[in-house]
Symmetry: C2
Subunit: 489 residues, 2 copies
């Protein structure tokens, strides 16, 4: 028996004082890491010895106790993080988290609430977060919502509602196997892959998602959208939804939501807005006008774990018409019978609005974040990221060895090192190698993407800890490493 | 500016010592609740004043700081939990959580890893948890898996793989809109509603999920399954999968997995096993033989947050054929390009095996739980629940005022108060009222279900804190409250 074992057979610690001391030490350890975040490398590769230690096939027959488990965590896991809590993490679109959110996760874990339904305070917290969210985006009072893992699932739920609302017949009962409905949807070529994945999963098929061309600012070409819908109608398809993007993953471009919304209403198409991170720009007074039209969304997906820095994972879907939302997912078998009162009350239950019946208390970390910081302070961090991205774009533009590959629309800077002597392929390879070098040397962590067939170094400022000294270090790192590599060619 | 504001504009606390003190106090507060769990009511209704305080429409423009947020949490939320951390919570199938899991949630929140992919220690932790899981159920070394919110999503993923594997044509590209594939699936009438929801979401349509009758032990009638498949083939349908249940939600019945598996292989049908909670009975040597055949699953879904008491939410899907799993979900656009080295390495990425691209470090609380307690101790808690359920069933059977409504197959006891003078409808109403009374008086929290058209009080022992004194209190509560109600009729 390990020392934690209790004679009563429960999984609670025998000695609460010892458990308290372990928790306090764990808290102190994490504070030490937060307080000195900039002093560590952004990232370091996971040593083979660590991989080997985490590669065992057999599950642990006998426990080693909490203290030994925590030691193993500190030795094997904690030193090799994703890197996104570091000020010089600038890759993909990762939020950087907050100490407030981490504490909320402990409290949520301790309460261990199941938000699938029933009557208890946690469901009221999630409802409050959803109300706050719909207010933020200007959706009407009756709009419903659900917290989910992220925008991918939120988009899946939004498009399931669109299918329910627009598909002829009873799609839940008959499926799409019954007849040739030939539903078609529309999004831009710069849209996120999760839209394609949702079409696949829903049985719509990705060939029925039309990828509309973009304009010079990489926004959906609304004229081309109109033509595509008209052509499909003429060909006997059944256009049913448009997915607009508020902040594309490549460059942060924001589609013309007002124009697309107008077209959708006119054509009786469902408007889903993928606002994964860009939607939160509504918190910045100077940026909010660029999101005009977002309030017309029939469904809207966004993340709290990106630009609001709630710890992973936490996303949200909002649905304008609560009735359609519930009609898409509600199913209450006997064992989930609703009660007028008691714990089985609390109708409607959240499981009637999505896929999961067991749902953690994800809402608490969002509630803590919004309440502790307030929209103003969270918005200031977003504004600072955008201002710093513009500043970085200017530094790139004025540096002869670098070139900007796309306009800085929001918070994303796509650039690269250039050298007229190198072939396009060699230049792509060199820039890709520089990014891997930056990671491996722990200097900075941008990611890469392709723009117009060229590999771009992509710096996404979605990090409340980043300041201009970090961006200067990124550019200096790129130039130094690129020169070093170029010299060996 | 709130007192937490930092002049540097980050969301980190200005004063780390103050933050440390807040965290330590929060830890102490939760320990106090755990250590005195039995002394509180199981549940109490959420007062109107609390609902009103959580009903504000407008998001907080200005933050109130962490300390005030925590006070509001302690006042409004903490006193009104789901109740499943209490020893006399016996409703639905809820795990009761552990202090170890809560601490792991804090650590995961602090690391803030995104497990969508890339190369960092957390992805190796999730891989280890998946390897441990496949070993537990006897799936082969090549089997893949993914941690998800729960069995509902796990079943959706499993059935998406089944559709990919068995549907003629390229279902991701064409969808089900192309032609009359008429795929049909099979599960028992006692199966969980999540199977129906998965059929709906995947565009298969719930009318193409055949609900096979059950035998006297409420297990799928394998003969009836065979007949249903043959009849569908004869009628031009395309049978593609069977969903067997290891532990039904109503009574804990376990389908004959070996016989169903044999039939599936013979007929080239995909076998998905919904092992949401019952699958974990493999940890109990006396129960494991009843799960024989589970190792034949093509996909298997189960939860860590139920009988392993990992905090909500944490489920898992395992897929026998990694190639099919990846072929069902993989999509790597330019902005997710794989790298040979650096942070963008770490192939394959978890986002290629499921719906979500942003994925929290759910694996850590599972890893902590398995490693700290070990399978033996977790299995003992499960064994104790089953033994106590049998004991409770015997107490019901020997009590003239009560009747047992189904065999105690595993850990679930369905019973009710009886009174020959009352009509069936009045008896149903009385037993439902007794359950709500039990909740409202904070005595115990069973749930209800319907069996053979009769309302059952349903006690599910999925709680490591429950002992026989709690079960005796449940029975005493039922009898006292039922007599009181009957006296007023």
């Amino acid at each position: 028996m390990s020392s934690d074992d209790r004679p009563d057979g429960t999984l609670d610690p025998e000695d609460w004082e010892a458990f308290r001391a372990i928790c306090h030490r764990a808290v102190d350890r994490m504070i030490e890491r937060w307080a000195h975040a900039r002093e560590r490398p952004v990232w370091q590769s996971v040593p083979d010895a660590v991989k080997d230690a985490l590669a065992g096939e057999g599950p642990p027959e006998r426990g080693i106790g909490l203290e030994a488990t925590l030691r193993r965590f500190e030795e094997l896991i904690l030193p090799y993080p994703t890197g996104n809590t570091h000020p010089r993490f600038l890759g993909w679109v990762h939020g950087s988290g907050t100490p407030v959110g981490a504490l909320a996760e402990f409290l949520a874990g301790a309460m261990n609430a199941n938000l699938g339904g029933r009557e208890h305070a946690p469901v009221h917290v999630e409802r409050q977060v959803i109300r706050w969210s719909r207010t933020l985006f200007g959706l009407p009072e009756g709009a419903s919502g659900l917290l989910v893992g992220g925008t991918s699932t939120a988009t899946l739920i939004g498009l399931a509602c669109a299918r329910e609302a627009k598909c002829p017949g009873d799609v839940r009962r008959e499926g799409l196997q019954g007849g040739p409905a030939r539903l078609t949807g529309y999004t831009s070529r710069e849209a996120h892959g999760s839209v394609t994945k949702a079409f696949e999963l829903l049985g719509l098929g990705r060939e029925h998602l039309r990828l509309v061309p973009v304009d010079a600012e990489l926004r959906m070409d609304v004229r081309a959208l109109q033509e595509a819908v008209a052509a499909d109608r003429a060909a006997g398809f059944h256009p049913f939804c448009v997915v607009a993007t508020a902040g594309t993953v490549n460059t942060g471009a924001i589609d013309d939501l007002a124009a697309i919304g107008h077209f959708c209403r006119e054509q009786s198409l469902w408007l889903h807005v993928d606002a994964a991170f860009g939607g939160l720009a509504v918190l910045v007074p100077e940026l909010a006008p660029r999101l005009a039209g977002i309030e017309q969304a029939d469904s809207l997906a966004f993340d709290f774990h990106k630009w609001l820095h709630v710890p992973y994972d936490a996303g949200c879907v909002l649905i304008r018409d609560e009735g359609i939302h519930r009609a898409t997912f509600a199913l209450r078998p006997d064992y989930l019978a609703a009660a007028e009162r008691g714990l089985a009350g609390g109708n409607p239950w959240f499981c009637e609005y999505g896929i999961d019946l067991s749902r953690g208390f994800r809402a608490l970390k969002v509630w803590f974040t919004l309440l502790a910081y307030g929209l103003d302070r969270l918005g200031e961090a977003i504004a600072r990221n955008c201002a710093d991205a513009a500043w970085l774009g200017e530094r790139v533009a004025e540096t002869p060895e670098l070139e900007l590959l796309a306009p800085v629309a929001l918070n994303i800077v796509c650039f690269r090192w250039r050298d007229g002597r190198l072939s396009p392929a060699a230049l792509d390879a060199l820039n890709a190698a520089v990014v891997a070098d930056l990671h491996e040397e722990g200097i900075a962590a941008p990611s890469t993407t392709q723009l117009d067939g060229r590999l771009a170094i992509r710096a996404c400022l979605c990090n409340h800890r980043t300041d201009r000294s970090d961006l200067a270090a990124l550019l200096e790192g790129v130039i130094t490493l690129a020169r070093r590599r170029a010299a060996t060619l």
